[in-house]
Symmetry: C2
Subunit: 253 residues, 2 copies
């Protein structure tokens, strides 16, 4: 059994809490937050506290906190002899600097409150001491996650990659939704295409399966599309991404 | 039984041929192409021809051809008393102008040769005569497609929306892949995130589930990401999409 004390009550903390609680190999002994209010959802399920001095003992202290408060909270845990990890994509391992045993437990997934995650979660793991990596692998394995050893430098690049394949992709969906709504077409009509586009890159390199007017250098369609777009910013996005596809595939601009 | 003559041998033609052939309600009586070579894959399965004067009779002539040749091929079919349709997202119904009965049978999906489509295909249907719309609905239904009545004007906007949610999304995946490859991380690590991001918009509006540094106006992460990106063009894409997310959500720039 791995005993966990969870610090934080946001999206990542909430999803980790649910996953840990559902596992037979992990027990969440306590949840910490500086503000009482956001602890209420956890009160019926485990112990809670707003006082860092009252943290229980645990095998792992998981700091699922906003990036900028991680160093100050970690500083207050530096006397602990157990493992202290954070869950951030961008904060380096060094931010836990004075903790004797430190590590990173970063779930590379998008979380929304009240939406259960339907896919297996990859965890990017890092630890100051080799043997703590094994403990983190056990923790990831206990919630059916897939473990990857990833350095702080690699993790920063992965977090950036995640912005492209998740946040920016979602904005492309939002632009598609807007075009549907304004033309009295249900957005659901685009969903099979969205699904298929995502599925395709499970078995193929996205670079190699690029399709569309840009890679075909189909100028008449590109010009017609630029004309159809209602805002200057949308035209700029279309033009820039068209150029980017063409230049990455060695087409003349 | 709906008898079809299929004109064209590209990705759309090939996928339609497979789907029609697998249906008990549809028979592909003949495939036409102007060049003999690309007909070879069909020869063991149905009749073929390179001569428009030798087309068989059929209930529907399906022109799955490049946009710019549709009008000239249609002009040569204008004596037909049966339905003539094209499969293009951008060409208007009028391009089949002199055909007595004309329509559009546009599959809103991405097709790659040798990759079977795993999702249900939405068909955007349009017809000069009301009763031909029923025939096209039957044709779509025969291959388990979902039928939508869509005007030429709506279809052009949908085709544009498809560029955003498919072609541009795929380029975002390619950028993510490049970041992985350059940092010795397997691209598979991003796939659960890609899948989850696509799944999320099946039950939620993408506008409403936007996440990431842009919508949080997390300037320090945004600046760190801009610094990490290796090319000027990638920085421009990051900055423009960040601005677009912020302005669409009413954030100050």
């Amino acid at each position: 059994m791995i005993n966990v004390v969870l610090l934080g009550t946001g999206n990542v903390a909430t999803h980790l809490f649910e996953a840990f609680s559902a596992s037979e190999k992990i027990a969440v002994r306590q949840v910490y937050n500086h503000a009482e209010g956001s602890l209420s959802q956890f009160k019926s399920k485990t112990k809670t506290t707003t006082n860092l001095k009252e943290l229980f003992d645990a095998d792992v202290f998981v700091l699922a906190l906003k990036d900028d408060v991680i160093p100050e909270i970690a500083a207050q845990l530096q006397h602990k002899k157990e493992l202290v990890v954070h869950t951030s994509g961008t904060v380096s391992l060094d931010a836990l600097g004075k903790c004797r045993r430190s590590g990173v437990f970063y779930p590379l997934q998008t979380f929304s409150k009240n939406q259960p995650v339907k896919s297996k979660i990859p965890f990017c793991l890092e630890a100051k001491h080799r043997k703590d990596l094994e403990l983190l692998k056990e923790l990831a394995g206990g919630i059916s996650g897939k473990a990857y050893e990833i350095s702080s430098e690699q993790r920063r690049k992965l977090h950036l990659a995640a912005v492209f394949v998740c946040n920016f992709v979602n904005h492309m969906y939002a632009l598609g939704e807007e075009l549907c709504t304004k033309n009295n077409v249900p957005f659901e009509i685009l969903q099979p295409l969205i699904r298929e586009t995502a599925k395709k890159v499970e078995s193929s390199s996205p670079f190699e399966v690029q399709t569309g007017p840009a890679i075909r250098t189909d100028e008449s369609t590109i010009n017609a599309h630029l004309e159809l777009l209602p805002t200057q910013q949308q035209k700029e996005i279309y033009q820039l991404l068209t150029n980017a596809i063409q230049s990455s595939h060695g087409k003349k601009l």
